[in-house]
């Protein structure tokens, strides 16, 4: 029995190793092609670049110049970090208030948040972009507010779920000791909510970093781009794509994500599980 199991396990390990390699193929293929001359990318995508096909870093330089990649990367970083920070700060405070102060208004607000979670973006995209233009929020700073508004639903929902499980006695003790609600929240409640903060941060980061349509419709694209917009921008007006530049930019866009993932893997996977259970 023991021997049979060991053999079976070995076979499984081999099978999954092969599957893992297969899983990484699409990305490896892009990396491979990023070093090839434009003409060879679409004609011979699977060939290993030989002397004739090899172009060095030309595709990367070309792609960076055409899209303004680093600027786009910087703005995406700014928007993502800013939005996630603001979302966590504002919605956690809001969620605590909603749970602790029970009246008609807070319960209506809570149900509106639930409701907003099932509304697809297409439903609001046109009016939202007009409102954003009217209020001059079409900058990365403004976009942070838009993300707070559109992302509030899920975050408020997740934070309220957690606040309900915090025993009231802890806060009451703090208040009796003379803490103002603001002190109570930041010194007592927020530290307890840390795990939920991490979960919300991960879910929102995954969404905002990769989001295309919202920034595309709301940003003033003459001045600002995000990574997704920069990549889509390479598809010319008539559907023609500069494949060389595209490969270079794709690699540049994927590498930071993979590095980030390898460092924060544990938190990301835990966050996803925790988020799924509550969502």
């Amino acid at each position: 029995m023991g021997k049979k199991n060991a053999a079976q396990n070995m076979a499984m390990t081999i099978f999954f190793s092969l599957l893992s390699i297969l899983w990484l193929c699409p990305i490896a293929l892009v990396v491979l092609n990023s070093f090839k001359k434009k003409a060879y990318i679409s004609r011979r995508p699977f060939a290993i670049p030989t002397d004739k096909m090899f172009v060095g870093l030309e595709n990367y330089i070309n792609g960076i110049e055409k899209t303004g990649f680093f600027e786009a990367f910087g703005w995406t970083l700014f928007i993502t970090i800013g939005s996630v920070f603001i979302i966590i700060l504002c919605t956690s405070m809001c969620a605590w208030y909603i749970v602790r102060v029970k009246n008609t208004f807070t319960s209506i607000f809570y149900y509106l948040c639930l409701f907003s979670m099932i509304v697809p973006f297409q439903m609001v995209m046109f009016p939202l972009s007009k409102i954003v233009n009217m209020l001059k929020l079409n900058t990365p700073w403004g976009l942070i507010i838009v993300y707070l508004g559109f992302g509030a639903g899920l975050s408020v929902f997740m934070f309220t779920g957690f606040v309900k499980s915090i025993p009231l006695e802890i806060e009451e003790a703090a208040m009796i000791d003379g803490c103002t609600p603001i002190h109570t929240f930041f010194d007592v409640v927020l530290p307890i909510m840390k795990p939920t903060c991490v979960t919300v941060a991960i879910l929102q980061t995954m969404w905002i970093w990769n989001d295309y349509l919202l920034p595309y419709l709301n940003l003033d694209m003459k001045r600002f781009k995000t990574v997704s917009i920069a990549i889509q921008y390479l598809r010319g007006g008539y559907g023609s794509i500069d494949m060389g530049a595209m490969m270079g930019v794709l690699v540049l866009a994927i590498i930071p994500i993979i590095v980030f993932y390898l460092f924060c893997q544990k938190y990301i996977i835990e966050g996803v599980v925790a988020g799924a259970v509550k969502g």
Binding site: T13, P26, S42, C94, L112, V119, M123, M125, I231, V272
Partner: protein, 280 residues
């Protein structure tokens, strides 16, 4: 205590409330109203009743996109959940290298839809080149291309959720079944599956809504080619809005219909699986 907190309304709730009103409530209400109007911007809207909605029915692209999306959703939900569950089952058996495999399978999930679309268009076009076709040759290629892409992206995510579910099945329950002489298949069917029902609920819900609302991947992979035949609903709404002058009202009406469909899916799915979970 209530009263003490209550006075802090402007600090605790107001920022979120204002942003939520501007980012969701106002656009939603304006959106519903605009679906009954003819307009090019918000200011020139004139009320025209239900004619935007009747126009949807005569617009063949919407009906086609609806079928295409439904079929795509069904196929990808089945594929993703089947493979994710199968991999999760195998990876909870203490195989060597499990952590590494999990890391690899989950990774594509973090990459954005636009990037994924172009990565896969390179790979799939390369394969189709061998038979001298491209992805945009027919909507069937686009369909399976999207299914494969979604599997690659989502299997890892769902696998993680299933693994968490399977690990929560109490060990003595499986032990007891084994002592009673249950085969592996019987254990799976009568012990594991019912116990991970909550995970199945979550994963079907996530894959259902993700597939039904898919936009970025569709835009980058085929952009609806050939001639809007590989267009999913979200992309169809987008191109009605921004690709056809004078059709903004119809686009908004389509968006309302889309919202109602998503709502129906979400509510039915919740009710159905709730009932199943209670039965246990």
């Amino acid at each position: 205590m209530d009263k003490a907190i209550k006075r802090y309304f402007p600090i605790f709730v107001l920022p979120t409330l204002l942003a939520f009103t501007m980012g969701f409530i106002a656009p939603f209400l304006v959106g519903v109203w605009l679906s009954f109007c003819k307009f090019t911007t918000i200011n020139d809207a004139t009320f025209i009743g239900f004619s935007n909605y009747t126009k949807i029915l005569t617009d063949g692209t919407f009906v086609h996109a609806l079928w295409y999306t439904s079929l795509f959703t069904i196929v990808s939900v089945i594929f993703i959940n089947f493979f994710a569950f199968a991999i999760a089952l195998l990876l909870t058996r203490k195989i060597k290298g499990t952590n590494l495999f999990r890391t690899v399978f989950f990774m594509p999930n973090l990459i954005g839809g636009i990037i994924l679309g172009y990565v896969w268009s390179l790979l799939l076009n390369g394969i189709l080149l061998q038979v001298e076709r491209t992805l945009t040759y027919s909507s069937v290629y686009g369909f399976w291309g999207l299914v494969i892409l979604m599997c690659w992206q989502q299997i890892g995510y769902m696998m993680i959720i299933y693994i968490a579910g399977i690990q929560n099945v109490p060990g003595d329950l499986v032990e007891a079944a084994k002592i009673d002489g249950a085969t592996n298949w019987q254990i799976l069917k009568n012990v594991t599956l019912p116990m991970v029902m909550p995970s199945i609920t979550i994963c079907t819900f996530l894959t259902l809504t993700n597939s039904f609302k898919l936009f970025d991947q569709n835009l980058a992979l085929t952009n609806g080619e050939p001639s809007n035949m590989s267009e999913l609903l979200a992309l169809n709404i987008f191109s009605t809005f921004y690709g056809r002058a004078g059709w903004e009202g119809v686009g908004q009406a389509k968006a309302v219909v889309f919202f109602i469909l998503v709502g129906i899916i979400a509510v039915t799915q919740n009710v159905l699986t709730r009932r199943k979970e209670i039965e246990q």
